[in-house]
């Protein structure tokens, strides 16, 4: 658990840039934009080209017609066409030059003020050097062309809108998934299965997923409680017949066998009691016993209590304690640190050292227990707080396998954390309250 949770802690909330939905939205937008732009370009290119070609063809046909009329000096009167005689070498009339622009090689475009239509025109020089401006009305085509241009602009605006919508959607999705991930990570770190994910809204897929995940969490919690309940019930139900058995053994006549039987019965009863006690602590029913306590005095008492045991093994037991008080359950804290010290002394070799320290770091109260024993392998470090787990190196020693589970339950009850590190040699157990 410890390893996994530390890894999880390190991975912070994902950035938008790294989010898959954001990247997908971005790719989608780029493709969409490219499609719109190329479509617009092609429409523009082809319509403009076609427009110029047809205009030029119409003008050329008109000019050929005038040529065919020859010297008769008569101009045709086709509708939508315009014919103006120009002076020799003179520029265009003033009323035209104000709005003139060039459409293609030799073709000009202007507004004809007399009827306010738009014309495309070519200048034709006849055989007798008469310059004639031949125009054709392009008002409706030009309007359509303008419309096409507007359509292109609208398409680009539309794509921009899609970009914006995609951004909003991806931000929403990333925020929501981040929220879910954060809560899930919290649940894993604290082991508090009673927590639920926040359901933002019911209509979107994420909301739906959150509801399903919450149902999953509820099921996991139920199963975990069931497992605990079962072991508690076994312990509870077996305790009564065991007590009866123990009292029956007590009434037996004195013998060596009787003492062994009593020891055995006591061991089983102690295991059951410890199991039930851990469950009660984990159920957080014991906060009612919380009161201000002087941690220094308490740890002093623990160290003093274990001093003779350390002395017997020639272990150098030192306690470096700062004067710190906090709110807690006196008996449970004593039990927790007694268990830790008991282990430290048990697993330290003769002549080893055991160190108990209490320090304040920022807002945290740090209590460490260090020993110079055999230590434990890395792959066992996250298991030692599990119920009934007994390390490879201590299977042969006396104990229930519940001591550290109890410690962990007590520390959690006080809102603290517990971590295991190598002390080289030995083990360092750090508790933060």
């Amino acid at each position: 658990m410890q390893d996994i949770s530390s890894k999880i802690k390190k991975s912070k909330s994902r950035h938008y840039i790294k989010s898959s939905s954001f990247i997908m939205a971005l790719v989608f937008t780029i493709l969409c934009g490219a499609a719109a732009l190329s479509l617009g370009y092609f429409i523009n290119y082809f319509t403009q080209g076609h427009f110029i070609e047809t205009t030029e063809a119409a003008l050329d046909a008109e000019i050929r017609y005038i040529e065919a009329l020859g010297e008769r000096d008569v101009l045709p009167k086709h509708t939508g066409k315009l014919y103006i005689y120009l002076d020799k070498n003179a520029p265009l009339p003033d009323y035209l030059s104000s709005s003139i622009s060039r459409l293609a090689e030799g073709i000009i475009v202007f507004n004809y003020p007399k009827n306010n239509h738009r014309y495309a025109a070519k200048i034709y020089t006849s055989k007798n050097a008469q310059r004639i401006l031949v125009g054709t009305d392009i008002t409706s085509i030009s309007k359509k062309f303008k419309f096409m241009q507007w359509l292109g602009v609208a398409a680009i605006c539309f794509v921009m809108l899609i970009v914006f919508a995609a951004y909003v959607i991806s931000v929403f999705v990333v925020t929501e998934t981040n929220k879910i991930a954060d809560t899930a990570r919290d649940i894993m770190n604290t082991g508090d299965l009673s927590r639920r994910l926040e359901v933002g809204s019911k209509w979107d897929d994420l909301g739906n997923m959150t509801i399903v995940l919450n149902a999953l969490l509820a099921r996991v919690e139920e199963l975990m409680t069931d497992v605990r309940q079962v072991s508690d019930n076994i312990a509870h139900d077996l305790r009564t017949p065991l007590t009866r058995m123990r009292s029956n053994i007590e009434t037996l006549p004195e013998s060596k066998n009787k003492d062994e039987l009593l020891d055995e019965a006591d061991h089983i009863l102690n295991t059951f009691n410890a199991l039930l006690r851990i469950s009660r602590i984990e159920a957080e029913q014991q906060k009612s016993q919380f009161a201000p306590i002087n941690l220094k005095n308490l740890l002093d008492d623990v160290a003093e209590f274990y001093a003779p045991l350390a002395e017997e093994k020639n272990i150098n037991l030192t306690a470096i304690l700062s004067d710190i008080s906090l709110n807690g359950d006196r008996d449970l804290l004593f039990q927790a640190y007694a268990n830790l010290l008991d282990n430290a002394i048990k697993f330290s070799p003769n002549g080893g050292t055991v160190k108990l320290t209490l320090t304040q770091k920022h807002n945290d109260t740090l209590i460490t227990v260090q020993d110079s024993g055999v230590g434990i392998a890395d792959n066992e470090k996250n298991k030692i707080f599990n119920r009934f787990y007994r390390g490879v190196k201590c299977r042969s020693t006396h104990g229930t396998g519940l001591g550290l589970s109890l410690v962990s339950a007590v520390i959690k009850l006080h809102g603290g954390t517990i971590t295991v590190k190598d002390n080289n040699p030995g083990l360092k157990i750090i508790t933060i309250l």
Partner: protein, 235 residues
């Protein structure tokens, strides 16, 4: 049952317990230890007996039909009856212990318990009722061992024995209850003042250290081990 040589006090004890198995187990054991026992298997009968008869100690189960154990104790305390009472509980939560003691109980024992533990506690409670007069003494004696509560000195056979403060407290508590079996849990509760469960025999190590100071070099051992129960200090 280990039968230590102890100051023989015959007590009259009332056991209020609804589980017949536990009730007969306690009654049988108490009778074997030389005490007179009355029993009741529900709260109402129990309260009736406790108020009408004169007992040296009450053993009351917490959960009883008709009337629960804490109410019985509160009721008799309210009536000015100070008979020492020990509460038995199957729940064993720390919270319960505090509630039990607040309601007027003198001691609290969690099921399952060793009979020796219950007997030791009941006998101490019963004796406290009789020997309250001794409270004015400032010196405790056990054989040729003398413990001065004021100067905090321990003298045996004219020689001063150097004790650390915890060792002094240990000896003081045992000498105050001279002739009574003291269990390891009782020592934890009274000398160290913590309710907890030591994983190893640390108490025995403390006692053996005290013993090496008090009894070493003397013919007669003052601190004796009672097998299956605890320790006893005798004259």
């Amino acid at each position: 049952m280990a039968k230590p040589k102890r100051k023989y006090v015959c007590m009259r004890i009332l056991v209020i317990e609804d589980d017949p198995e536990v009730q007969s187990y306690i009654a049988k054991g108490m009778k074997e230890a030389g005490h007179g026992v009355d029993t009741a298997d529900n709260g109402k009968d129990g309260l009736f007996l406790a108020t009408t008869e004169d007992y040296d100690a009450l053993i009351v189960d917490r959960m009883l039909p008709e009337l629960d154990g804490l109410t019985i104790i509160k009721t008799i305390r309210g009536a000015g009856n100070a008979t020492p009472a020990i509460i038995l509980s199957a729940l064993g939560e720390v919270d319960d212990r505090v509630k039990g003691l607040r309601s007027g109980g003198d001691d609290y024992l969690t099921k399952p318990f060793a009979f020796a533990e219950l007997l030791a506690r009941v006998e101490i409670l019963g004796r406290r009722k009789n020997d309250n007069l001794q409270n004015g003494d400032t010196k405790l004696y056990a054989g040729d061992l003398e413990l001065d509560l004021l100067s905090r000195k321990v003298i045996r056979d004219g020689k001063t024995i150097d004790l650390q403060s915890r060792e002094f407290q240990l000896l003081e508590y045992m000498m105050q209850n001279k002739g009574q079996v003291i269990t390891r849990t009782m020592l934890l509760e009274h000398v160290w003042d913590y309710h907890f469960d030591p994983q190893t025999n640390v108490i025995d190590v403390h006692i053996s250290r005290l013993r090496s100071k008090v009894d070493k070099g003397f013919d007669k051992a003052i601190i004796r081990t009672v097998r299956g129960a605890g320790y006893i200090i005798e004259d």
